[in-house]
Amino acid sequence: MAAIEVSGCGAITPIGLGINAFKDALKNGNGNFSIQEFTHGDALFQFPAALIEPFDLKQKIAELELPEDVSKKARRYRNISLGTSYAIYCALEAWKNADLFNTAIDSERIAIIAGGSNTQLQDSLDIHQKYNEKMKFMNPNHAMNLFDTDVNGVLSELLNIRGEGYSVGGASASSNVALVHAQRLLSAGLYDAILVVAPMINLSLFEYQSFSNLGAMSLLSDELSPSELCRPFDNGHRGFVYGQNTGCILLETAESAAKRSRQNKIAIVGGGNSLDANRNPNPSVEGESRAITNALQSADLEPGLVDYINLHGTASALGDETELNAVKMSGLKPQYANSTKSLIGHGLTAAGLTEAIATIIQMEEGFIHQSNNMTDPMASELNFPTEGAVQADISYALSNGFGFGGINTSILLENLSQTKK
């Protein structure tokens, strides 16, 4: 497959607003876990979560120093979900970092793919509760923002994008699916660039409680602080901790990037998907290994050449063990591995894209961030940095994303500044 380059990224995470802040926090190995509270009737419900710190979005957009008409329009959107509003920031940051405000691409040669479905859960619940007793005054905007593709509409209008656009779902692998799909469209020559965006999935009490009752989500503990609850690849694993993540990546063909004199360092060179023929949440070694192998084969790369894996690593006992076995079965012998979820929680639909950005940052900057809470590591042949970041020249990296319903994905990234030396 042809190299499809990463021209720009944008991110809003619990450990950093914007790419530079996210980069610094990854280097420092900062996690940011706290407690999400809900009142329901007379009852109080509490869950561990990695939350985005409250901030002034309009101020943050103004700080990007964009062309005034775009900046003004971006700050004026109302009646949109929280995830879509964060996606606006991330898309603008990616667009700016890709230098697209200065060197344009034909608007019909750019597409938008949003990763994730049912991302606006708390937003919808707020509307339902607000109008429950006054239904006849129902806010007409709900008819627009109930669709997952509202984010496509907003971003296409804001950035004048006129290629195709839609959202793709794949449970917790959604935004990895979006990246794989974008890479295929670009490789087929259908577009010059694709904006791949993963809006935050905004969970309500109903989802927190159902993930808890399923046994998938970590509960609060009297013995451990919230920052100690997310324990991927540790024998004390307790299930995943939800994390509020939003990210955006502008992918571009090498030809288009060259025309715009872009010196991009990172390319997405492969992607693999697979299904387990299983409706349930449980993972499969064979299925995960097949997705990894598909990713490697799509780039015609030997498994031994992968230097680093950004593992899906949710801190589910069965999930982590299955992934370690799948890595082994695929013949991978990376120098390093880690779980970004140990810092930013599990972004569910947005996890794949945010972790792809974490992988891109580490490749560009030549480091591997530490994995937190590995005080009693699971037995494996993988090398996890746990005492601070380590320096590493990464040529090839894999980033895994797996979802309920037997959905497995893996993307393969290449560091052009290493491989083209």
Binding site: R76, R78, K134, K136, F137, P140, N141, M144
Partner: protein, 79 residues
């Protein structure tokens, strides 16, 4: 409710939809389109105002109203 009071409610809801108008001089006789309201904004202005007045006049009554003044006239007549 007097017409001035209804005009005030309409303006308050208009500022909610387009905050920038609060700092601008404009006439209640300007067309809503010229004030920057698209069809969704217009629908929202009517719904918000019906909500403020706790009234459920049919949206059809407002079809011909093109200005704040004309909207107020419908509210005065129907509410």
């Amino acid at each position: 409710m007097t017409k001035d009071e209804i005009l005030d409610v309409l303006k308050t809801n208009l500022y909610e939809i387009i905050p920038e108008l609060e700092d601008e001089e404009f006439s209640v006789n300007e067309k809503l389109v010229d004030l920057g309201l698209n069809s969704i904004d217009r629908g929202e202005l009517i719904t918000l105002t019906l909500e403020s007045l706790d009234s459920d006049v049919s949206r059809i009554e407002f079809v011909k109203a093109q200005t704040i003044q004309e909207l107020a006239d419908v509210f005065i007549e129907k509410v």
